[in-house]
């Protein structure tokens, strides 16, 4: 039996919103440490990995490991019925057919309850090793989203060059080219606006902007975003959530620009 109570429905709403444009169906794997999710997009070039630790819920109870196979579009429909400030409770049997969602309004005594049919999803789980990245860049999540959106107007891919001077996002398209460079920056009053670059060696990689823009839908979840790059490995875009929960996206770099 699974019972997980979230103080704010908002969190799950935003997570699902951020993922639903990348994957269609996925399993929410629940065990005693929390709710985890790993899924790839249709082309298998991007991967999303989410971990909502048990501490994010109050209370959290999961007697047996269960995989909740959900269609994210359907889940979105149900979550739309929840107010942002509602208390959300997820409930499921040990071998569930449905996921039960209860929304409690904290202000009024409104209580809504939904059952969402589950599906069997065949998914392969990939083991993601801990990697020492050559470059780790933290920046405001809105800044990253703005860069991606701006550059996508010009081109479909962006080159990210990290050096000790800063990080440069550049693109070249049919109508012209453009580049945004960020230097390390620290704001004492608003630490969330800091730009930090940790570098062991310079890196330059090219990525699909469509995918990056897609990842940026998670910007609402966290004020800052962490980009981790190394040559020859996927880019990691990480949004830290409360506690040690996280939402991570991986994207394969474009190799050999032969267009």
């Amino acid at each position: 039996m699974l019972e997980a109570r979230l103080e704010q429905a908002d969190l799950l709403k935003k997570i699902v919103d951020a993922i639903k444009d990348l994957v269609q169906d996925c399993n929410f794997d629940c065990n005693d440490s929390g709710v985890a999710l790993q899924a790839m997009d249709n082309s298998h070039v991007a991967l999303v990995s989410m971990m909502l630790k048990a501490e994010s819920f109050s209370p959290y109870r999961c007697d047996r490991n269960v995989a909740l196979g959900l269609n994210l579009t359907s889940l979105t429909k149900v979550l739309r019925a929840a107010g942002n400030e509602d208390i959300l409770t997820l409930k499921a049997e040990d071998a569930p057919d449905v996921l039960n969602l209860v929304f409690e309004s904290s202000e009024s005594d409104r209580l809504s309850e939904y059952d969402l049919k589950l599906m069997d999803i065949d998914q392969e789980h990939l083991g993601i090793p801990d990697t020492e990245y050559a470059a780790t860049i933290s920046m405001p999540s809105t800044e990253f989203r703005r860069i991606c959106v701006d550059l996508m107007a010009l081109s479909e891919s962006v080159a990210i060059e990290a050096s000790k001077d800063g990080v440069k996002f550049s693109c070249a398209g049919d109508i012209g080219n453009g580049a945004v460079t960020l230097r390390p920056h620290s704001n004492v009053e608003k630490p969330e606006l800091n730009v930090e670059i940790e570098l062991t060696e310079p890196v330059s990689l090219t990525f699909s902007l469509k995918y990056l823009v897609n990842f940026c839908k998670a910007a609402g979840l966290s004020k800052s975003v962490k980009l981790c790059l190394s040559n020859e490995v996927p880019l990691l875009v990480e949004y830290q959530l409360a506690g040690s929960s996280y939402l991570r996206f991986y994207l394969a770099p474009k190799i050999g620009d032969e267009e």
Binding site: K20, D21, L22, V23, Q24, D25, M40, D41, N42, S43, H44, V45, A46, L47, N71, L72, T73, S74, T76, E124, H125, L126, G127, I128, P129, E156, S208, K210, Y211, N214, K217, V233, P234, Y250, A252, P253, K254, I255, G256, D257, E258, E259
Partner: protein, 435 residues
Amino acid sequence: MKTRGRPSTKAKEAKFETETSTAPKTQLGPDSANPPQLFILPQNLSNEARIATLQNPRYANDSRYLICPENGFYEFTKVAAPKTSPRSWLLSASQSSEDRDDVKEPNAKRRKPSGYVTKNANMLVATAIDPLFIILPALTPLATSKGSEAPKKLFLSGDDYIEKIAATSSQFSGFSRMKSIRDLLEERMAAVCDTVEAGDENMYRLNEEKLLGELLKKAKIVCEKGLPPSMEEKLVRKALDVPVLSIKREESSTHELAKEEDAADTPDTQTSVSTSTSTTTSFSEASTAVTSFSENLTESKSEAVPPITAPEGVADLLRLRTALFLICAAYLGPHVAESVMKLAASSTTVDFAPLETHLAHLAKLRQDALASRSFGDFSRKRALAVEDGETRAEKKRKEDEEEKRKKANESRGVKALKKVNVTGMKKMSDFFKKK
């Protein structure tokens, strides 16, 4: 072809001089590894008669023949129910002739459950075959190597030829010592061979002219009795059809009596006159028409048959040639058949020239008609399309529905990502190992 069933020797009066004899004692229990088979065997077989493996004159593979020292050779024709409508024989011992005749049979034995249900309703009918065809492979050895001329034909004694057959079939060697069998074969050899006397022995060498003569004799008998309706329809009537009148639409038969060969479906050549041009196709056509004989029989009978419009004698010539092709296709090795056909074309015994000219004339007419006709006439194709069009539409509808359902649950973002150019991007599984 399995030939486990041994014919019962007790004769039973039956129509058409044949006698049904079931396989021996039936077995019960789990699937027999060697199930009984049903045979229709000729009457009055001698006790010496056996089923033996001989070389098939046409395909040069091993086939089973029934050999009777008194009555000669028989080949087996398999009559089977189509695979689509499974049938079986129920063989019951209490019904067999022995039991009925023999009243003194101990009761205990009769009460013993003794029935067998065969897996399929096959029936093997033994029909007489000219021993000529059995000896023919020995008379016509294949060229030893490609390109070289056919081996020089030598006069050999009848014994030598018979030994040749015995060499390919160990089961025949027992028969090859029987005088009646030797006489039978030598007699037939004499009909198609040049002979010389050497001492007290006759020596034989194949004469193709004589062989053709023999075959034509057989073909004429076939024609006199009338070709099977399906052959008459497909190979004679259709070949002589004058194109303008050939709009008549045929009912394609749905009930298919499946024979071993499913070749019955080979497209018939309405527009090409392959009979005159390529011998090989017409061979197969001839055999095809025969296999599909039974399916068309009922229909063509009921049809009012319009007279064939062709110069006098041409239709008979075509029938004769069709019969000849059929014999060649069924019983002669390809190399023999080829030389026989060549010979037939230039033969003086039967002049096929009027037929050739008429067919050429028809071919030209047909070509003209085809050219003048609009391309809209695909009646044959359409008939086919309508048939499986329904099932196809249904299938498509189901697929569409499923896809639609899937699409409905697909978010806009997922759809958009499908269009993204992912060239140069490796799959995630290339970076991360599967758990």
